[in-house]
Structures are given as structure tokens and as C-alpha cells.
């Protein structure tokens, strides 16, 4: 298995016995298969890797590499992942590096960013979930190419001293009540240097922001139940990571991913009881119908008998 130049996703999974594992992410029966370990395709890094794997398979590209370890919250698996990346990032030399669920550790995050900065070919660097919390809290947001916050996390990014979205300055909180205030919050995030180069803000409407400027707002199809479904934010990050790996510009990938995630929810007739795998399995159908029009990336099926 060639490791270089790949899409690498790093994060914890809720199987406490799973050792540190680096493997290609392949889908089998609604589960991720990582070198024989079956990872449930549910909320978290499993959903992100699954979404990326389905997308890359459709595009005819190599599957994502997954660097995972079991961790139910005590941080042991998280530290194994940080340490492996710090030691081996140069050897793996990913094209795109996605950091996802893990216990925030500011010192290890700073070390990892120093290592990534020194790589001969710096990967596109993406953070979501608690990796994004750690990147921002360590003052490293601007080192990242893309963050994918929801509205509560956007308020966290706008608070220069917050360490976690559960402790944020209260004057930022009412922002979550309505979309019209999101643009001012986005401005604050960039003012306090809490943003990556590009933000894909997930919410009732999704916002694609580049260096403080809102490039696009995507609000259709409107599927309110998506907010209730655990993992739909993770699938969005998986989609955008895959499209960036495929060569799209950051903001283009973000716009297409927001549209694809919403449309997959529509195709799945999403309700609050829908599971995230039901969304992911719609992606090939969504791509087949819309990707060519959205992106110009057109897969021509061979009709030769």
C-alpha cells in the first residue's frame, strides 16, 4: 500500500479495544473496513471516512487512508494518533490531511503543526470537531486551509479566549438563533484570527467563506431534520476533503459538498430517525445526477458493448 500523496484522515473511533491503525478506508455492508477492523459508520470519524471513501470511489481515485485508534473519551487513543502523526507525517506525506475527533491537547497540536509546516510539500490541512477546537485554542487557526464549524462552533471560534464551545462569551450566544446574524459572527471570527483560510459553516444555511468574504450561501434543498441526524456534519467534512483531494479549489469543493450533502438528505427522505449511513449511500446517486452540472467533473460511462 503506497502511503504517499494520499487523503489521510486522523481521528478516534468508539471501539475502545481498537489499536492504532493505519489502513485504507473501504466500505463493506454499511461499515468501514480498516485492515479487517469493522468500524460502524455512525457519527464521528467513521462517518467522515465513509463519506470520503464513497466519494473517491465514485471519482475513480484511491481510497482515503485512515489513521484511527479506539478512544471513548479518556484520551489514550487520541495521544497515540498525535504522536504517530508527529513522528511519521514526513514519511506519509499526505496530499490532504484531515484532523477530526480527538481529545484536544494544545502542546501536541502545536508540535504537529510545526512538523506539518516543515514538510517539503505542505498538505492541505483541514480540521473539524475537537481538532478544530484544539487548532483554534492553540492560536493555530490560520495555519489551516479549512474549518467546518456549525453555528455553536462558529461562536466558539469568534471568542478569542474560549477553549471549548461549552464555555463561550455569552454575548455571542444569541447568534445561533437566526441566520441573519451569521455574517457578523463570521466577521468576528476573522477579526480575532479564529478562522482557517476557508470556512464551511454548517447550519440551516451553509456558508462558504474565504478570507472573511462570504462567497456563497447554500440553503436548498432545505432538510431541517439533517440537524438532528448524528454525523451529517462529518459527512460534509468527508465530502469536502475528497473533492479537495480530487483537485478542486477549497471554496469550490465546499460549495459542491454543501449541495451534495443536502441533496443526499433529500434523496434519503431524511427524518429525525434517519441514520447517517442512509445519507452516505445516496452520494453516488447524487453525484450521478448533479456533479457534472455543479462542478464540470463529468464521469462518462463507457457504453461500448
Amino acid at each position: 500500500m503506497s502511503e504517499e500523496g494520499r487523503l489521510l484522515v486522523a481521528g478516534t473511533v468508539p471501539l475502545q479495544s481498537l489499536p492504532l491503525t493505519l489502513a485504507e478506508g473501504k466500505i463493506e455492508d454499511a461499515c468501514l473496513n480498516l485492515y479487517g477492523h469493522r468500524i460502524p459508520c455512525t457519527q464521528g470519524t467513521g462517518a467522515l471516512i465513509s463519506a470520503a471513501a464513497v466519494t473517491l470511489k465514485y471519482l475513480g481515485l484511491k481510497p482515503p487512508l485512515a489513521l484511527v485508534a479506539g478512544d471513548a473519551g479518556r484520551g489514550g487513543g487520541s495521544r497515540l494518533i498525535y504522536e504517530y502523526l508527529i513522528e511519521r507525517a514526513a514519511e506519509i506525506s499526505p496530499e490532504v490531511l484531515v484532523l477530526h475527533y480527538w481529545l484536544p491537547d494544545l502542546i501536541l497540536m502545536k508540535k504537529l503543526c510545526e512538523v506539518v509546516e516543515r514538510l517539503p510539500k505542505k498538505p492541505k490541512l483541514i480540521a473539524d470537531a475537537a481538532s478544530m477546537y484544539a487548532a483554534k485554542a492553540a492560536g493555530l487557526a490560520s495555519k489551516f486551509d479549512l474549518f467546518t464549524p456549525d453555528l455553536a462552533e462558529l461562536a466558539f471560534l469568534a471568542d478569542p479566549e474560549a477553549f471549548h464551545p461549552a464555555y463561550i462569551n455569552r454575548h455571542l450566544i444569541d447568534i445561533e438563533t437566526g441566520a441573519p446574524k451569521v455574517p457578523s459572527l463570521i466577521s468576528q471570527v476573522y477579526e480575532v484570527k479564529g478562522a482557517a483560510k476557508v470556512l464551511l459553516v454548517k447550519g440551516e444555511a451553509d456558508y462558504v467563506v474565504k478570507e472573511g468574504k462570504i462567497l456563497e450561501m447554500i440553503s436548498e434543498p432545505d432538510i431541517p431534520a439533517m440537524e438532528a441526524i448524528g454525523g451529517t456534519g462529518d459527512t460534509l467534512t468527508g465530502l469536502v476533503s475528497a473533492f479537495i483531494y480530487a483537485g478542486l479549489e477549497l471554496h469550490e469543493a465546499a460549495v459542491i459538498s454543501a449541495k451534495a450533502n443536502r441533496t443526499a438528505g433529500e434523496f434519503a427522505q431524511a427524518s429525525p430517525a434517519t441514520r447517517v449511513w442512509e445519507i452516505i449511500e445516496q452520494f453516488p446517486l447524487v453525484f450521478k445526477q448533479y456533479l457534472c452540472a455543479w462542478s464540470g467533473v463529468c464521469i462518462i460511462e463507457d457504453s461500448t458493448p
Binding site: T12, Y84, P104, L106, A130, F163, Y167, I168, A273
Partner: protein, 177 residues
């Protein structure tokens, strides 16, 4: 390959104590249990009669609270070391989907079926116990679901616990109407 010892520590959370010896004892207990921590002087705004406090990784607040409770450790409070926000986000919102209700507590959401009280989904958050808690809570009745406070470790888990508590309160109210 595991690092034997962290070279330094930035945790952004603080445990305040009434007495110095409690801080010293707690540092030893937490270190033995594998939690990163260090003794610090509390900032003036947080001094409550003590002169020694313990810095912890704020994200691990819930697991540490449970750990200290199990060992009868006396402390005044756990709070954020930096920033204007020294209290957890207390805002809870309820969204009615018709057949289901979603309770939002901070960055966490829990959705249950109105007719049965069964948890249909949890979403939001980013800490490593959240996918585990998602797994543990799905398809359980609100009254039977394990409390994130009892099996989780992080601030995201604590916010999910608040969402579950509010969901249980709404469910009991609905049953009695």
C-alpha cells in the same frame, strides 16, 4: 513509541480548593489516574479563599468531576481558567419536528420520538466520547438511557447530559398531560 512524559501542559481548566492540602492530594490522585494536571496559583478573579489550584484539561471536566466525587475529594469548583466565560453554557432550546422533539444544549443535540420517548439520534460535538455516547444512547428510552455524566468524560458529553435531562423532563411532562 508512546511519550513517557509531556514536556509541558496547557489545559485551560482550573480546580479551585478551599485548602492547599486538598490541591496537593488531588494532583497526586489525578496524575496516578493518568490525567494531565499541574499546580498553579489561581488568578485573582478566581480566588475564593485558597492560594493553590490545579490546572486541568478543561475538556476533561466531566470525567474529572466524576473521578473526584468517587474519591470524596473536596473542591470548590471547576471552571475555565481564561476568558470571560467562567460558567458552562446554560442555554437549552427545543425544536418540534412533529413526530419528534430535538433538544439542543450548547453544541449538543438529542432527538426523541414523541410517541415512545425513544432516542432517535444525537448530534453535534467533537470530543472523543461523543461517537461512543451516540452508540450508547440510540434506540434507548429516555427513562432507561445511560447518563452521559456517568459514562462520558468531556465537556461535549456534559452538554449531551444536559440535553438528555431536558428531554427526560419534557417526556415526563408529556406523559402527565
Amino acid at each position: 513509541m508512546a511519550f513517557k512524559k509531556k514536556p509541558s501542559f496547557e489545559g485551560r481548566g482550573i480546580i479551585l480548593f478551599e485548602r492547599v492540602e486538598e490541591a496537593l492530594k488531588t494532583e497526586r490522585l489525578l496524575r496516578e489516574a493518568g490525567y494531565a494536571c499541574k499546580l498553579i496559583a489561581p488568578p485573582p478573579a478566581l480566588r475564593k479563599g485558597c492560594d493553590l489550584a490545579l490546572e486541568i484539561n478543561l475538556v476533561e471536566q466531566m470525567g474529572i468531576e466524576r473521578f473526584l466525587k468517587e474519591r470524596d475529594v473536596n473542591y470548590l469548583e471547576i471552571t475555565s481558567l481564561k476568558g470571560k466565560a467562567t460558567e458552562l453554557l446554560g442555554i437549552v432550546k427545543v425544536i418540534d419536528f412533529g413526530e419528534a422533539v430535538m433538544v439542543k444544549a450548547g453544541n449538543m443535540k438529542l432527538t426523541f420520538a414523541k410517541g415512545t420517548g425513544v432516542i432517535l439520534n444525537t448530534s453535534g460535538g467533537g470530543c472523543p466520547d461523543i461517537p461512543y455516547l451516540h452508540f450508547q444512547l440510540l434506540d434507548k428510552r429516555l427513562s432507561e438511557a445511560p447518563k452521559p455524566r456517568d459514562i462520558g468524560f468531556t465537556l461535549c458529553g456534559l452538554m449531551l447530559d444536559r440535553a438528555l435531562e431536558e428531554g427526560q423532563r419534557l417526556w415526563i411532562k408529556e406523559e402527565h398531560e
